[in-house]
């Protein structure tokens, strides 16, 4: 398709305390309808968005975290999480949701969407993006 651009959504806020995380997810899903090349970056407090086991019943807010597992169905399978940000927060990849996508060019094999990258690798990813949207 002509005019496909490389989009990068940069997420730096924790969920629930502010509306940024949810708004970002909404925009990502809307953007997915436009067949662009989409990647998501989670840095700083943004890594908290992907923590598994979120249960918002007692705070009276919508738990939007299950929506991240639907991203693979929208062909969003480049989810970069910054290593330094996880470490500063006492977290490892095992604390995050296991996000996957199905590769149609590889007999629909299920593959991991999350990739842990260093800050300098993240800088490269940002540099190679054509459109950056920050939340």
């Amino acid at each position: 398709m002509a005019d496909v651009k490389k989009f990068l959504y940069v997420n730096r806020k924790a969920p629930y305390g502010t509306i940024y995380a949810w708004e970002s997810l909404e925009v990502v899903l809307i953007g997915a309808a436009f067949d662009q090349d989409v990647a998501l970056a989670f840095i700083d407090d943004g890594v908290y968005q992907l923590v598994k086991g979120q249960d918002t019943k007692e705070i009276g807010m919508k738990n939007f975290s299950p929506t991240y597992s639907a991203l693979g169905d929208y062909d969003i399978n480049k989810i970069y999480v910054e290593k330094e940000s996880l470490e500063a927060r006492g977290l490892t990849i095992d604390d995050l949701q296991h996000l996957v996508w199905e590769d149609e060019d590889d007999d629909w094999a299920e593959k991991d969407s999350i990739k842990i990258v260093t800050a300098s690798e993240m800088a490269e990813i940002m540099d190679q993006s054509e459109v950056v949207l920050s939340f």
């Binding site: 806020k13 924790a14 969920p15 629930y16 305390g17 502010t18 700083d44 407090d45 908290y48 923590v51 598994k52 086991g53 979120q54 249960d55 918002t56 019943k57 007692e58 705070i59 807010m61 738990n63 975290s65 500063a88 927060r89 006492g90 604390d95």
Partner: protein, 102 residues
């Protein structure tokens, strides 16, 4: 006099917890709510600040906000108390004054 200090921001995003810790005296209580509950976790870049403060003050964290964020109690710094909404109210009545660090 005893004071309840309430913090609601992530210590790795804002300096409100640090400001709070720098203005507490022995016998005070810090209650972490909303995005501040992450600051009750061990092995983080702000854990040592909280552990240092806990020599003089008690630290409580709001359970419903922890659960919402998927943070299990095993991940908390030893000695941090988890309270529910009733416990939150009790803290406000048990202390003489309340200060919110916005």
């Amino acid at each position: 006099m005893s004071m309840l200090h309430i913090v609601n921001k992530s210590a790795l995003d804002r300096n409100s917890l640090e400001a709070c810790v720098n203005h507490t005296i022995k016998g005070a209580t810090i209650l972490m709510i909303e995005d501040a509950v992450y600051s009750a976790m061990k092995n983080t870049a702000s854990s040592s600040m909280v552990e240092g403060a806990m020599k003089d003050v008690s630290v409580a964290v709001l359970g419903p906000d922890l659960k919402a964020r998927g943070i299990s109690e095993e991940k908390l710094i030893d000695g941090v108390t988890v309270v529910d909404y009733a416990g939150f109210v009790e803290l406000t009545t048990k202390n003489d004054t309340v200060q919110s660090w916005l």
